[in-house]
């Protein structure tokens, strides 16, 4: 009984001791993670290593589980011997030694491979983290925790260990500890892939209450961990420093009292006075505002505005010239209109400065610039400038009509009309450059003048004769009428004194622009030439604008035959050209120009005749003699004021002999008559009667005479 009681008491003692040791192991006691080496000669099953598992037990062959954690090695050996005694007889030589000590811990949180890891007996937190695959991006290093087996939780600053290398800053690891690596609050509540560099740039403040918030015109605004002793300079540098938009003299700091204080960084940097540095409380907010331009005024200030590189207010000294000031402002930009720089005086008066002229060395003096003046460099008006209002009327000329780009152009008096027309795209193909009209404006009056650009371009001449253009003038380049048939509106704009009139049988009769340099053939060609039915031998030109009236006749056919220009009349603007039809009224043809062919021909009528022709041509033209014509007695009557006569032409005899001497002369104005055979018979009868009667009368006269005798 006493043995049983002793055994139970021992067992209770052992159990209590085991539990107590597991909770709070004594120095030198066995722990979870220890590896025991059990030796028993001749027993191969025992001669190996037995680890103390996470429950504090070792598992022996044929003896089962033996709780050893928390016991000393002697106690553990006794327990093992006791357990083995049921299976083995001779345990005298049983040896139990601690071969190796290991620390099994669990690493959770922001590590790459969370889970159980086994460390050597002297392993620390860093080794545990490495064994767990290392810390993940976004881990909060200064707020890691260790939860011991007894539930006690310890927070530690791993970053501090990394900063210092001091192992004492890390808690000592015990078996079954749980290391937890928290996430930084900056990672937010959404799991996303992020760039650690970007994340770190926005600050490292893990503790919201103590972190310093820096924003505004700094390089990397963010929340940064508060460190005691850090100055505002350290914090601003941590935030990437101030940028060039910042106002370093207006930095605001809101401390724990909630009231903003202004820190003048500029003053500190200028003086180096450390007393100017404010005390930064944990959780402070620092704001670097944007620089706001200050309105600068002063007795020596000159203002430069507009298209310069650095507009602003400039302090002048006595003797500072216009060029000095413009140069200090960085000079005109490429958009500046340097011909129209204005100086605005304090009394409101303005003065124009033509910098280009000055640079050209044309003797222009630059005005003096005094304090209080403002220099305005206006924007240049390029071709595509939408606002034409920027150019004052006194500096603009208007180009209208047949130019490439009609419009309103900026003007400078040293330019010429050629510059202007070139800038306006030049005259178009239909421009009448011989009549460029310039409307000159003098005060309230406008006076037109004409300029023959065509003549000047062709013939040259003194440049003094080229009209001077000034701002406000209007230049009109008229158009040549294109086709009077299709565009009557266009030729209505053409002055009558510049026109010539073409009527009758031409392709496009009408009114055409004409100048003294053009000729008869020019205008005839412009009117598309004579039509097929035109009578080119009898073209009439009425010369107007002369004293009295004069009409000349043009034989264009003769011109084409000889090519002699003297046959072409001199025409001038205002003249009228008439090309008659070939089938015109016979009244239009004077008798002196035709030969009348009468009688027995195919087509009796009036035929135009030239001395190149002969009666044979006439007969052929008139359709030839008819069948009953008396071809041997064709009568030709030569009419003349001085001498008229009638002659016979024996066509048959001529045809038989070919004797040209038998051909009678025919001239324009003559008559050709072909009697028919009926008339011949009647003539023969009357002739016979006449002969008979004549013979009878002669006989009677003779008889009467004989009776008288």
């Amino acid at each position: 009984m006493s043995a049983v009681v002793r055994f139970l008491a021992l067992s209770l003692l052992l159990v209590w001791a085991g539990v107590a040791s597991a909770a709070q192991p004594a120095e030198g006691a066995l722990r979870v993670g220890d590896i025991l080496s059990i030796g028993l000669p001749g027993e191969a099953a025992l001669n190996k290593e037995f680890p103390v598992d996470r429950r504090g037990n070792v598992t022996l062959p044929e003896a089962g589980v033996v709780p050893v954690a928390g016991r000393s090695l002697e106690q553990a050996t006794a327990l093992i011997r006791e357990a083995l005694s049921h299976a083995y007889r001779d345990l005298e030589k049983l040896t139990v030694v601690v071969k190796e000590r290991k620390v099994p811990v669990t690493v959770l949180g922001y590590v790459r491979a969370p889970g159980n890891v086994e460390l050597p007996g002297d392993g620390n937190v860093q080794m545990a983290l490495v064994a767990a695959g290392g810390i993940s991006q976004g881990a909060q290093l200064d707020r890691m925790t260790i939860t011991h087996a007894d539930g006690k939780r310890v927070q530690f600053d791993y970053k501090k260990y990394l900063d210092s290398g001091d192992p004492s800053t890390l808690p000592k690891l015990e078996p079954l500890d749980v290391i937890f690596v928290p996430a930084s609050p900056l990672t937010g509540n959404v799991q996303v892939e992020f760039d650690a560099r970007t994340l770190a740039a926005t600050g490292d403040g893990g503790e919201e209450r103590s972190a310093i918030k820096i924003f505004g015109e700094v390089g990397a605004p963010g929340t940064f961990a508060y460190k005691k002793g850090n100055t505002i300079i350290d914090l601003i540098m941590r935030a990437g420093g101030v940028n060039h938009y910042s106002a370093p003299d207006q930095i605001r700091i809101i401390g724990k009292d909630g009231k903003p204080k202004v820190f003048n960084l500029q003053a500190y940097l200028d003086s180096g006075d450390a007393s100017l540095l404010p005390v930064i409380d944990p959780g402070s907010t620092i704001y670097v505002p944007r620089s706001v331009e200050e309105v600068r005024t002063g007795k020596q200030t000159v203002y430069v505005m507009g298209e310069v590189a650095r507009p602003g207010a400039f302090e002048t000294r006595d003797g500072a010239s216009f060029i000095n000031i413009i140069a200090n402002s960085g000079g005109p930009t490429r958009f500046a209109d340097t011909r129209q720089i204005r100086i605005i005086r304090p009394n409101g008066k303005t003065e124009v400065v033509d910098l280009v002229k000055f640079v050209d060395g044309t003797g222009v003096q630059l005005p003096s610039v005094n304090p209080g003046d403002a220099i305005f460099v206006p924007e240049k008006n390029d071709v595509g400038e939408s606002s034409w209002l920027k150019v004052a009327p006194s500096r603009a000329v208007q180009v209208l009509g047949a130019v490439g780009k009609p419009g309103r152009y900026e003007w400078a008096d040293e330019m010429s009309i050629f510059d202007l027309l070139a800038n306006a795209g030049g005259p178009t193909a239909h421009a009448d450059i011989s009549h460029v009209q310039i409307l000159r404006k003098e005060g309230d009056k406008a006076e037109p003048m004409l300029f023959d650009l065509d003549s000047f371009l062709k013939g040259g001449g003194s440049l003094q004769t080229v009209p001077k253009i000034h701002g406000g003038y209007v230049i009109t380049v008229p158009e040549l009428p294109q086709d009077p048939i299709n565009d009557k509106a266009a030729w209505m704009r053409q002055a009558p004194e510049r026109s010539i009139y073409v009527m009758g049988q031409v392709g496009s009769p009408g009114r055409y622009a004409f100048s003294d340099k053009l000729g008869f053939l020019d205008i005839l060609t412009a009117a598309n030439g004579p039509t097929a039915s035109a009578d080119v031998r009898n073209i009439r030109v009425a010369h107007r604008g002369e004293k009295g009236s004069r009409v000349s006749r043009v034989n264009l056919s003769a011109y084409f035959a000889t090519g002699d220009d003297k046959l072409l009349p001199k025409v001038r603007p205002g003249d009228v050209i008439y090309i008659p039809d070939q089938t015109r009224n016979y009244l239009d043809q004077p008798p002196s120009q035709v030969v009348r062919v009468l009688g027995a021909v195919g087509k009796p009528g009036r035929y135009e005749y030239s001395d190149e022709m002969s009666i044979l041509d006439l007969l052929a033209e008139a359709g030839g003699p008819t069948g009953d014509a008396m071809q041997d007695r064709i009568i030709v009557i030569n009419l003349s004021n001085a001498q008229s006569q009638a002659r016979i032409f024996d066509l048959l005899a001529f045809a038989k002999t070919g004797d040209v001497r038998r051909i009678p002369v025919v001239r324009a104005g003559d008559v050709v008559y072909l009697p028919n055979k009926g008339q011949d018979e009647l003539a023969e009868i009357s002739s016979a009667i006449g002969n008979i009667v004549s013979a009878a009368s002669l006989a009677s006269i003779a008889a009467s005479l004989s009776h008288q005798q």
């Binding site: 000889t562 001395d611 190149e612 009638a646 016979i648 032409f649 009678p664 002369v665 009368s697």
Partner: protein, 119 residues
């Protein structure tokens, strides 16, 4: 009997009036330019015209030369046809034209020579 003879005589004379008379004589001169020139003055003018042609009148005074040639033809025809009054008038005109051409042609030739030299 006398009365009868007188009446017949009247009838016979009236027969002359009753008929239209004989046909005109045959004409000539229509192609006189193909025949030799018989008129001395015309021959002279024709030679002068030919001389003008040799001097290039056909080129330098084409219209005037053509007109003069026609006038020569007309004059020759009229002379051949016996229309002497008309012929004299035309010969006069022809002479004037030939003289004008002779005067002008010298100037034209000179200026044409200068043009050629300059070009």
């Amino acid at each position: 009997m006398r009365k009868i003879a007188g009446m017949l005589a009247c009838l016979g004379l009236s027969g002359c009036f009753f008929s239209e008379g004989p046909w005109p004589v045959e004409g000539a001169g229509g192609f006189a330019e193909y025949l030799p020139i018989t008129d001395k003055q015309l021959e002279n003018l024709s030679n002068r015209l030919e001389a003008l042609r040799a001097r290039g009148a056909e080129r330098y005074a084409a219209a005037a030369f053509a007109e003069a040639s026609l006038l020569l033809t007309r004059s020759r025809r009229e002379v051949a046809a016996g229309l002497m009054l008309d012929a004299n008038r035309d010969i006069e005109r022809l002479e004037g034209q030939v003289e004008a051409m002779e005067a002008n042609l010298g100037r034209m030739r000179v200026s044409a020579w200068f043009d050629r030299d300059i070009s």
